[in-house]
């Protein structure tokens, strides 16, 4: 895959080719591709002159460095206690109904992945979620439906 090779090279030019550069490079791949494929990991290993096992071991430690295929928009709903108390279940149900997928799944058109995550730092305005890197707080059924519909139209 020439594109991924090019992306990895660009990221390495920007962040360097040391061990310290590894996380910024992997994060950069996520920003562009939403997940890090095996091919991408091998490319990173080659570009940084380290073993693929080392890249894999590092990537899989971090929950935001997904190595499974993901949709263009990754939805992460907070499931920690305050959001749980404030209606997280209903939020999940609403999205599951809208997108016809369960938590952990990706829509057939590869547009959305639905995941749960731990406390996002918006507990006073729960329930909260992230779509890629954008946080949304004070959710209710109407608000979350509107947000998702907007992404569907994108």
């Amino acid at each position: 895959m020439p594109e991924i090779k090019e992306l990895v090279k660009q990221l390495a030019d920007k962040h360097g080719r040391n061990r310290e550069s590894l996380l910024p490079i992997l994060q950069g791949i996520i920003t562009e591709e939403q997940s890090i494929s095996d091919v991408a990991m091998s490319e990173v290993a080659e570009e940084l002159n380290m073993s693929a096992a080392l890249v894999y071991g590092t990537a899989t430690f971090y929950s935001f460095l997904d190595t499974e295929p993901r949709g263009t928009y990754v939805i992460r709903i907070c499931k920690t206690i305050t959001c749980d108390m404030k209606g997280k279940k209903q939020m999940i149900q609403t999205i599951e109904d809208l997108l016809k997928i369960k938590v952990g799944e990706t829509t057939k058109d590869n547009k959305f992945t639905l995941l749960e995550t731990n406390c996002l730092g918006w507990c006073h305005k729960g329930p909260a979620m992230l779509i890629n890197s954008t946080p949304y707080d004070s959710l209710d059924v109407n608000k979350i439906t509107e947000i998702i519909m907007e992404y569907i139209r994108k």
């Binding site: 040391n18 061990r19 310290e20 550069s21 590894l22 996380l23 910024p24 992997l26 994060q27 996520i30 071991g57 590092t58 430690f61 971090y62 929950s63 935001f64 460095l65 499931k79 920690t80 206690i81 305050t82 749980d84 108390m85 995550t117 731990n118 406390c119 996002l120 730092g121 918006w122 507990c123 006073h124 305005k125 729960g126 992230l130 890197s133 954008t134 946080p135």
Partner: protein, 386 residues
């Protein structure tokens, strides 16, 4: 609020002249800065409460020419959101605090480790950082700050795991000692402080140690940001004096039906209603990084505990057995008791497991699971069983 006095230091407006307090502070000597921070009695705001002046002094005393200043903005503790607010509203104060530390210990490079959940803030932070770098240059301080991003791992808030993460590795805590003041980031002497701690050091430079000390109690100097959430009509961030009683707090923040308050997040302690009166919030009583979660009588404390234990099970780095296996077994254990597959006395066995984790786990994550586990199980035993 009836009982508690609100303070407005941390989010107070910037000086008209950019980075004025920093400029004035940089004229002081390293010794002067460290002794003022020490005199103020400031203790770390990230949870553990280590005296900040001592930490800076130990690091300053190290002979190594390369040293680092690290700001811990991983803020992963459930129920904490004050560092996000600080970095959104007054990032200049955080960078200033880091530069003051750099001057005090003789560091040329600093890192701000920001949790992945907060990456949306990066453009604003970078803009402020540009201003900051211009200002330190004008003041002849050779110091540069780099922002490192996390990627969704609570354990990376633990200081040695955070260093590993900046170094590009898995965020697995290291053995201690050596402590960061001797061997921290890249094996070099390092000061690591919480976001709020750095802002406090700037405030001490501005107000002087004596005025700072007028707030709080002798064990808990100064004011503190509290992140208040759960069953409360006034969820949000509040700057209050340390050393208040939980009863006063609940009177001001509760919904009239508060059954328990979790102080210090999932790794903190659950205090039931009957103990509100005798509980002091501060280093002399129940310490907190600021997380205050209120639960009213409609809530099942079993669900609360289960949520916490699941949190720890997922966030455990898996490096040491007491924590990796212990968290799983605590979760399975309380589920089994609740379903009636195990008798109520099994809770005592689980308590013993939690106590064992406290003494045998490698880092603060595994060691602190027992805090919430024991305080919830002890105080709400019936809810665990029926």
């Amino acid at each position: 609020m009836k009982n508690l006095k609100r303070v407005d230091i941390i989010f107070g407006a910037y000086t008209q002249e950019k980075y004025k307090v920093l400029g004035e502070t940089l004229k002081k000597s390293s010794d002067q800065i460290i002794s003022e921070v020490t005199d103020s009695g400031l203790k770390g705001r990230g949870g553990a409460g280590f005296p900040t002046g001592l930490k800076w002094k130990y690091t300053a005393n190290e002979a190594d020419p390369i040293k680092y200043v690290v700001c811990n903005a991983d803020e992963g503790e459930p129920g904490t959101f004050k560092d996000r607010e600080i970095l959104t509203r007054v990032p200049r104060k955080v960078f200033s605090g880091m530069a003051i530390c750099a001057k005090a210990i003789g560091a040329k490079k600093g890192y701000l480790y920001l949790r992945g959940e907060y990456v949306y803030m990066l453009p604003d932070l970078m803009a402020e950082l540009e201003l900051f770098h211009k200002c330190v240059k004008e003041n002849n301080l050779d110091f540069e700050i780099k922002i490192s991003m996390g990627s969704g791992a609570y354990i990376c808030g633990e200081e040695s795991a955070l260093f590993e993460s900046i170094e590009g590795k898995r965020g697995e805590p290291r053995n201690k000692p050596p402590y960061p003041t001797v061997s921290g980031l890249f094996g070099k002497p390092t000061v690591i402080n919480n976001v709020e701690t750095f802002v406090n050091t700037l405030m001490i430079m501005r107000l002087g140690a004596d005025e700072f000390k007028t707030l709080g109690t002798s064990d808990s100097r100064g004011s503190k940001l509290f992140s208040v959430s759960g069953d409360t009509p006034v969820a949000g961030i509040f700057e209050l004096e340390l050393g208040m009683s939980l009863e006063d707090f609940v009177e001001d923040f509760g919904d009239g039906d508060t059954k328990a308050v979790q102080v210090g997040g999932a790794s903190g302690f659950c205090v039931p209603r009957k103990k509100f009166k005798d509980t002091i919030i501060g280093f002399e009583g129940v310490p907190t990084g600021g997380s205050m979660m209120l639960f009213n009588s409609s809530r099942s404390m079993y669900n609360v505990l289960k949520n916490y234990v699941e949190f720890f099970e997922e966030e455990s780095c898996g490096q040491c057995t007491p924590c990796r296996v212990g968290c799983q077994q605590l979760k399975l254990g309380i589920e089994a008791v609740k379903k009636g597959e195990k008798s109520a006395t099994y809770l005592d066995t689980l308590q013993k497991l939690a106590d064992t984790m406290k003494v045998s786990a490698k880092c603060g994550l595994g060691q602190s699971v027992a805090n919430s586990f024991s305080s919830i199980v002890d105080n709400f035993k019936e809810e665990m069983i029926y």
